[in-house]
């Protein structure tokens, strides 16, 4: 039957496309022995009680490692560079857990940017001295000025006609430092 020949041709074309060039970006699970020793030592020093998962992310910009866990009812994501140096720690919180002052600053910043919006996810991002982050987040000690705090927010926002998802980074002064449009997951295989 002719139709079978057509599917054979489609199969050949698919095989060829598998080997075509793409922008490289990959995230995958890794085992503890595959991550830099320095990052593993830092994680072990935290004495975390809950299960921890390691991920590696490779892109044209380089490779990073990320440890994800739950600590004191908050999801934590701890990111390191290829040498095991701490890049930042992200702690997932509810909007209501932020101080009133920060809540207001975030609301003002987002209202200026979007006609309508809803907050889907907030993470407090801590960067700076590793020892200071450790003391602030995991030993509940007061931090020095060497710990920088920002708010990474996933927003469902409307600028023109359509809602879209955005990743917005806001500093403690309420200024938007970064805004990225998040391309929605290609769900064609869940729809057709």
């Amino acid at each position: 039957m002719k139709i079978n020949n057509l599917f054979f041709l489609l199969g050949i074309m698919s095989f060829c496309s598998v080997f075509s060039q793409e922008k490289f970006e990959k995230e995958y699970r890794v085992k503890p022995h595959e991550v830099p020793e320095k990052s593993l030592e830092f994680i072990q020093s935290l004495n975390l009680k809950k299960k921890l998962k390691w991920y590696a992310e490779e892109s044209n910009d380089g490779k990073t490692f990320e440890a994800k866990t739950c600590h004191k009812k908050h999801n934590f994501s701890i990111e390191f560079d290829e040498n095991g140096t701490l890049l930042d720690v992200e702690k997932r919180v509810k909007f209501s857990e932020l101080t009133e002052g920060i809540q207001q600053k975030i609301e003002v910043a987002l209202s200026k940017k979007f006609k309508k919006y809803s907050i889907k996810k907030i993470q407090i991002q801590y960067s700076g001295e590793q020892a200071e982050i450790y003391a602030k987040l995991f030993k509940s000690k007061k931090s020095k000025s060497t710990v920088y705090v920002k708010y990474e927010i996933i927003v469902k926002g409307k600028k023109e006609k359509l809602f879209n998802n955005y990743e917005v980074l806001i500093n403690t002064a309420g200024e938007i430092e970064k805004e990225l449009s998040i391309k929605s997951f290609n769900s064609i295989n869940l729809q057709f």
């Binding site: 990959k26 699970r29 929605s184 769900s187 064609i188």
Partner: protein
């Protein structure tokens, strides 16, 4: 877990029947973005029966479909489509309407599809069918499906034919491969059990492969 149990139940039940259908279902789906909120999706599907009561290796049918899909919200869409089916010496026309919504969780994407279908055939009354499908995609490594990565997809669909008052249930476990940013291919089993209500169940066991191509 519930879906896996349902699949195992159906699998065991199928092999206890001697009249099970076996066959291949290759399908190609090509989508093209029209504007920010809509796209045009075309597909070609063939059905080859490997074994049934009478035949061995026979072309059963060919479906050609064309769908207009429009987004209403960021994760919701309506589809309006037409399928032309060639089966033996007859031609069946079908129109359908879908409502979809997709939820994204940390490493799981779950899609729901509600459908209503109308079947038209010369010298026959128009018949109607409704269906609901839930499917989930989970990457086999990491939290998202990247290019050149495998994923697992599990679907469960319920179809009700108003004319025959028949319920059909489908369970579809697939392994998918995101070949490039624009195309992915899936292989798996499409298990169907029908005539539930009449208590004379029929089993169909298809090997399905679907190639999704995006021309965006």
């Amino acid at each position: 877990m519930v879906l896996m149990s349902a699949f195992l139940f159906c699998f065991v039940k199928m092999f206890s029947q001697s009249d099970a259908f076996l066959g291949f279902l290759p399908k190609g789906v090509v989508s093209k973005k029209i504007n920010a909120t809509s796209k045009w999706v075309n597909s070609l599907e063939s059905r080859t029966v490997v074994r049934d009561n009478e035949y061995l290796f026979s072309q059963s049918l060919v479906d050609i479909s064309s769908i207009y899909s429009t987004k209403t919200f960021e994760n919701q869409s309506f589809n309006f489509g037409y399928i032309l089916r060639f089966r033996n010496f007859e031609t069946i026309h079908r129109t359908f309407q879908h409502y979809n919504f997709v939820n994204n969780y940390s490493s799981l994407n779950v899609g729901h599809r509600f459908a209503f279908e109308q079947f038209y055939q010369t010298n026959k009354k128009t018949t109607y069918r409704t269906r609901y499908r839930v499917s989930a995609v989970k990457p086999l490594n990491g939290e998202r499906v990247d290019v050149k990565e495998l994923y697992f997809k599990l679907g469960n669909e319920y179809l009700y034919d108003f004319k025959d008052a028949d319920l059909e249930v489908r369970v579809t476990p697939y392994i998918g491969y995101q070949a490039t940013k624009y195309d992915k291919i899936e292989f798996g089993i499409d298990y169907r059990i029908s005539n539930f209500i009449n208590n004379s169940s029929e089993n169909q066991f298809w090997f399905r492969t679907t190639w999704y191509i995006s021309l965006d």
